[in-house]
Every structure is written in C-alpha cells, then in structure tokens.
Symmetry: C2
Subunit: 495 residues, 2 copies
C-alpha cells in the first residue's frame, strides 16, 4: 500500500519557491474564512515513519498560517489528571473548537501502532481498537469536523540514510521516540501494522493521505496543497459532511510521477532462457497444484493489464501446465441480466473456487476501479467505496485459505501501438482489436492514475499486486508463473 | 434493551382480523410494485428466542404475500460445497435478486449468537465479527438492498410457559435447535450476547426491530406492518439508500402500551420506614465512597425525569450523605458559547470524574434523545445516531472503571399537575415553575415515546437505566440511594 510513496517523489527548489508564495496566501485566506464562519473545526492527524519530516512539516504549516488559529498538540506522555480518566478524555479536552485547526501528534493511532510493533495487541484486539476509532471519527465527522490524516512515509533504505544524517544533527538529540527505529524489525512491523490500520480507517469523511517524506520540498508542498483543497471545498459546501466523497489519490503526486513509471520495461528474456525457465516453472506449478497441502487451499489468479499487454498469452502459459480438470478460466465482460440484479461482488463470489480448485479471472472485480471509474460507468462514491469492499472480500478469501494472486501486466504506449498494428494486419488476430481499444488508448493517463490508486489501496500483505513488466512477453510469462508458484509455496509454508 | 418487549404486548382477535385484511392487500400491492420496478432487493433477517414465533410468523408472511416472490432460506447446516468455501459464500449464493424478498433464518447473526452462548467467542473476537457484519450490511445497503432485521423476544418467564406448551405439541418435535433452551443460562447468555450485537449492528440502513413474541396476533401484525411501511417508503424513494434515517422505535408497539405504563406508581413508603431506610442507605453510601476499593473506580449518576418528578430532592438526599469534597453536581442547561463550538458530547466529557471522584448530572447527555428530539432542536438523523454514540461513550467510561448509574424519575400526569399548582402557590418554590414546564406537559405522550426508545436503546448491561416510581417522593429517594449503593458494591465485587 505504500508502493507509490517509495518511488522517490521530489520537486526542485525553484518550482517549490514559486508555488509556496501562492499557497501561503491562499491558506491564510481560507483560514480567515474558517475563523469568521466558525461553522466547523479542522482536525489534522500526523503519523508516520521516523525521520519522514512530520515535525518539520507542521513547523512549516505554523509559519505559513496564522498560528493563533492553529493548536498543535502532542500526546506523548499523559499527565496524572489524564491517567485518572478514560483514555479518550485527553483527546476530547484538546479538541479544536469550530473555526480552528487542531494538529494532533501522538494521537489515537500512535498508541495502536506502537502496540502493534511491540506485539502487545493481538489480532482481534487490534481489530476492535480500529473499529472504535472508526466510530469515533465518524461521530466527529457527523458533528461537523473536517478531518485530515497524514502518513509520512519513507522506504527502508531512505530511513537508513536519514538516520545517518540525523545522528550528526544536534537539533535532533532532544527528540523522544518510544521505539528503537534502528532495528529493522521495528520498521517492518510498523509498516505492516500501518497497512492494516490505514486500510480500515480510510473513509471518505476521514481519508488518509500518504506523503513520501524524503524530499522536504515535495512533502511540504503536498501537505499544504491537500489542506488547502480540503479547506476550500469544505468552506464552499459550508459543512464538511456535505462534501463529495473524497476523491484524492491516497498518495499525493505533485511531481506527476506515477508508480507505473517506475517500472523497468526493458526487462527481457532470451528465447533460450525463456524456454528453459518456462518449462521449469510450469513443472513446478503442476507439482504444487497436485501437492497434498493444496487440499487446505484454493487459488485465485487475477489478470489485469493494458490492452494488448499479453494477458491471454500469459494465462495460456499458466494453464498449459495443467490438466483441464485442475483449473477454470472466468472471462469477465459485461454482466449478465442475472448478475445485474445482484450486488456488484456477487458475480465474483459465485466463481470462488472450492478447496483444491484453481480459478483464473481474465479481468476481475477490479473493473470497478479501472474501467468503470475511467469511463464514468459508476459514481465516484461507488468506486471509492469499492476499494474497502474489495479489501474485505479478499480478506474473507484469505482467512479461509484461498491464495489470491493479482497481476497487472504493464506495457508502454509504443509497444501497445506496435501490437495494435500487428493485430490489424494478421487476419486471425483481427478480432482482438476493436474501436474500444483505440478509445481506451486515448485515456492512457487516466488509466495510469487509476492503476496507481488501485495498487496503493488494494495491494496488501494478504493479497499483494504484482506489477509485471510486459514489453517482453517472455519475461512477463515467466514472472507470472514464478509469482504464482512462490505464492503457493509461501502459503504451504505458513499453514 | 428488551425492556419494552417484556411488558406483555397483545391485541385482540377482532382488531387483528380487521387489520389483516387491509394489510394483506397493501403488502401484495407493494410486492407487485417491487417486482415490476426490480430496482432493489429486500433482505429480511430473522433471529430471536426459541418459541417466540419466528417460524410461524414467516409462514404467515408467505401466506399473506405472493410466495413466488419470496425466498425463505435456512442456513442451519452447511453443505459440502459450502464447507469447501469461505463462510460468506453460502449467503451470497442465496441473495435475493432485485425485485424479490429473501428471508434468512439462521443467518450471519445466528452463528455469532450461538458462539457467544457456548463461550467460543472471546470478547475481542466477537467485537471483530460484529464489525465485519456491519461492513457487509453497509455494502449491501450501498448496493441498494433494503434490509430488515427482526429479533423475536420473550421474557424468561414467557419462555418457560411456552416450553411447556411446545412439549405437548407434536408439530414441534421435528424442529432442530443446536442450543438447549431448557437451561436458564442459555437464555441469559443469549440475551446478553444479543444485547451487544443488536446495539452495535442497528443502523439507519439496517435497523433491528424487537418484537415481543408471546401474542401471535400482536407479533404477526407488527412484523407485517413494519415490512409494509418500509417497503412503501423505499418504493417511494425509489432507492432504499435515499430513505430518511430509520425513525421507527426499536420495539414495535401496536397496542399503544409503553414501558412507562408498566410501572406501579402506587409504590410508597411510610414516614417511619422512609427515615429509617434513608439513614441506612446514606450511611452505606458514605462508607462505599470512602472504601479503598473505590480508588479503582469513579461514579457518575445521571438524573432524568418528568418535570417536578423530584430530581432535585433526590439529588440532595444523595449528597446529604457526603462531604462536599467527595462529589460534584453538574446541572445541565443550555450549552455555553464554548460548548456550542464543540461536538455534542464534549460538554459531558469535560466533566468526567477522575478516579475516586463522584459526579452527579442533573439532566445529561440524554437531552439529545429527549428534549432535543421532542422539541425538534436537532434533526432525526442527529438524535438517531446519538443512541449509539451514547452507548459508545458509556462503554468507554465503563471500560475504564467508571460506574454509570442512570435514573428516570417517573410520575403520572395528576401528580405533576398537583405539584405544579403547589409550586405556584408557595413563594420560595415559584421560581421552579415556568411557562416551559406547562409546554412540556402538553407533549406528555411524545415524551413517553422518547423515554421508551431511550431505555430500549441505551439500557445496557454495563450502564442500565433504573426507572424510579416517583409519585411518592420517599419511595423514590430511597430507591435512588439503594440503586447507587448496589451498583457500587457490584462494581467492587467484579474488580
């Protein structure tokens, strides 16, 4: 879920300085209007990886805006008075009144995250704590509060670099952290806990924004812009609850760099290497599917990708390894009449494999957040709620032992053009290319955004996305088979 | 929470038969329109106490309506195919399509309830299971489904009577129940589990209706009417999601009998008995508050009641037992400017006592669902969501060790009139009676409904309501003190 916040977002000093002048003015203006209307409070929650710039960014916000209308609160150590009352009391007493902005460090998420790193919270307890937070934030929102939640992120590598820098920085010495971030496992556990918490607590009335924290210009401008847009929209709607559901991407991208751009599409395999590796992986898959440990599992493989990215070919290389009784392929096109009379996920639930079965989805439930979003076949409210509905669906599958493997086959625009042309020229491939394919191509950038959001919001530890560099078909096919095999082996090892 | 469903609701045969003719016609008409439009499905979940008429009622619905448009499904024993897939699969495959009504026995609640009776589900696991259901039902509702949830209730006494009847009924023999309802503890655990589950899963988009099941006429007509009203409203709004939040009382009352009517207001104490018992309870309170076990607790007492019911006098008898440093009284009137700038519950959170402290609220957060509801000071959506917000608030208090005791002081209209007149005649009491009191009196029936709903929705095992028969002030004062003392002792014993 943090994929897009590890690709090195950055902007240059010049762009930054030019943008900040305008941003500050607009922020001050919005803040003044917020104060004059005094019709709702603003709550900003700050969490994230150590060294990702949380403190620096809030300091900057204080400089940019009118500090008399901002209350920054830190909840690291409770006072005696606070310890003598229910844990929520300390947050209630510091709530910003209508017309003001409250910035909460060390808020209700911090304790949960620390608990999850230290292993104090069991799975079900964590689930319950999350749902208590959901109810509380929903209530604050119903009562009128505008809520922003920022997760400042760093990749593990960047964290290490940052720690070296900070060691030599005297200003850093006084900072307190209850966690020993020098330990790799602290980072791993924190990210795993955060993934679950962010996924479950990101709602249209209180969305999470993931900010890549390595570049100070990028992170400050991102946070400032998100605050500004949110404030302006809420002031215009007069009440935050009347806002349209939150359509911002999970991971802010000011520099127009997207997750898909970070793939190395030049990856390729020679014919020899391909044939050898393909045969090896096919044999491995056949063995794994026949393994008696597969009796406790089922396998679902999802294929999504650009038009002409080679989904069909890849699927054939997978099924080529198997007996037809061992798998089923479900092509997803327009829903049938019966399917249209049911909730969206019904048409996928009906194809959920039983134990020891393997089902391949040629396109899938992700259509909701891809084609339906881009083409406007459903409302923003519908595709926005689909992310968490899909996560719930896949969690239910996972909890039962179903292994869910999801592929996005990615090609660049030149490769797509070449393949379209080839298809038009070869008679038996002509059926594969339609008007619609050409229309989709015009919406390339919108699909890039939709795919980025999809991966950020639905790539989870239990059902991760695999992005497949597919300019070279051979490379793609082998990567697909290998990923399937690795996922099965990992599931067998866990059980 | 089942208080109003244990007062013996019943209607006579004649009324029933006259009503059923109209009801059947209207139900058939609504059903036909539902089918023709086919714009949403209807899901009816049936749960409750054994012998409370679940099966009989659904049988009757089938007779009243067009059975071709109703699918009744029972999920008692899963098939092999179902066992081979995630647990939710069996419900998905039986989902009614748009235009049809699905009636689910043995649905997703049943397993949870059985688990809670058998003690298989731990507290946190139950919490997590509840929240999974909330997310699933929310999704069904977002997808267009109109959802009704019925809890068929019987008091423990009625269950025993019913079991005797059923023993001699041959038609009952084939019925399967996984629970041994003959054991008293099964009933107790079921009701405790149901209280929590119903409280957490009753939402405006999928409300619970509690139906007292002892009288067949009453329960059938209640269920039929609720279904009809819900269907008609949804058809009018075209989509169930566009419905106003659900304003129906939790416990259906077709016979105009309310919880408050079931109180015996003739209860009284002689002067002698009063003085003796009062002194005894006051001494007991003083001792309990000074007990060292109170260090782990705090005490919050809430006083609500009819105007002139004697709240002030009762509070003075409580505080009379104590040193002024041992308690604080918080009178709740119109909110201050500072309070109006905050979420509703803020003004009560700020007065939450620390450990070893005792706070008395003269009126309270229940104003939201009493005066604000009756006077229209807030929208139905606001007071409807307040029930669960209040339950959450009190649960947070309870989890920390705060003992919450809530009193409704109840008098009849004659007694109120006599006290109003007395107040007007006695100079030093004249300030106590205002124009507003007379206006409130005109809304007596609306308050009766509001109090009934309040008790049904917020009287919980962790913070129960005590209804105080207050026509006799002496009786009321002693009952208040005794209840406080009993609650403290019970808390000490639990810890």
């Amino acid at each position: 879920m943090f994929e897009s916040a590890e690709i090195g977002h950055a902007i240059d000093k010049e762009t930054y300085e030019a943008a900040v002048i305008e941003l500050r003015e607009a922020l001050l203006e919005a803040q003044l209007e917020l104060k004059q209307r005094a019709s709702f409070p603003v709550l900003v929650l700050i969490n994230g990886i150590e060294g990702a710039g949380k403190g620096e960014t809030v300091k900057l916000l204080n400089e940019w805006m009118d500090p008399r209308l901002i209350q920054a609160e830190s909840f690291l150590l409770p006072t005696d008075e606070e310890l003598s009352r229910p844990p929520q009391w300390r947050f209630w007493r510091k709530m910003p009144p209508k017309g003001k902005i409250g910035i909460f460090f060390g808020n209700w998420y911090s304790q949960m995250l620390i608990g999850s790193v230290e292993g104090r919270l069991k799975n079900a307890e964590m689930g319950q704590a999350i749902e208590e937070i959901v109810r509380t934030e929903r209530m604050f929102s119903d009562e009128g509060a505008l809520i922003f939640k920022f997760w400042f992120h760093l990749s593990k590598k960047k964290l290490k670099e940052r720690q070296k820098e900070l060691e030599n920085d005297p200003r850093h010495k006084w900072q307190v952290s209850v966690l020993d971030w020098k330990q790799t496992k602290v980072y791993d556990k924190m990210v795993r806990g955060a993934e679950r918490i962010l996924r479950r607590t990101s709602h249209e009335y209180a969305p999470w924004y993931v900010i890549e924290g390595s570049d100070p210009y990028y992170r400050s401008l991102s946070v400032g812009r998100i605050l500004l847009q949110g404030l302006q929209a809420a002031l215009q709607a007069d009440k935050p609850q009347r806002l349209q559901p939150h359509a911002a991407p999970l991971v802010a991208s000011l520099d127009n760099r997207a997750l898909l751009d970070s793939l190395d599409l030049s990856l390729a395999l020679s014919k020899d290497a391909y044939q050898k590796q393909l045969a090896g992986e096919q044999a491995r898959l056949a063995k794994l599917i026949s393994d008696k440990r597969f009796r406790r599992h089922a396998l679902m493989a999802v294929f999504e990708g650009n038009d002409a990215a080679g989904k069909g070919g890849a699927i054939r290389r997978v099924t080529g390894a198997l007996d037809p009784r061992q798998y089923r392929t479900v092509p997803i096109a327009a829903p049938t009449e019966e399917e249209r009379a049911q909730p969206y996920l019904w048409r996928f639930w009906r194809h959920v494999p039983g134990k020891r079965q393997f089902t391949i989805f040629d396109r899938s439930w992700y259509g909701r957040v891809l084609v339906e979003r881009v083409e406007g076949f459903c409302s923003p409210a519908d595709w926005l709620r689909a992310y968490s509905e899909i996560n719930d669906f896949e969690e239910q599958l996972h909890n039962y032992g179903v292994v869910v493997v999801k592929f996005w086959l990615s090609i660049d625009q030149d490769t797509q053009m070449a393949r379209f042309k080839e298809r038009e020229q070869i008679a038996f491939k002509r059926y594969k290319i339609t008007e619609e394919d050409w229309r989709n191509r015009d919406k390339w950038d919108q699909y890039v955004d939709a795919v980025g959001d999809m991966v950020d919001r639905t790539s989870t530890a239990i059902a991760p996305w695999t992005l497949v560099e597919a300019n070279d078909k051979r490379y793609a096919r082998v990567k697909v088979l290998r990923t399937l095999n690795d996922a099965l082996e990992a599931a067998f090892a866990r059980a």
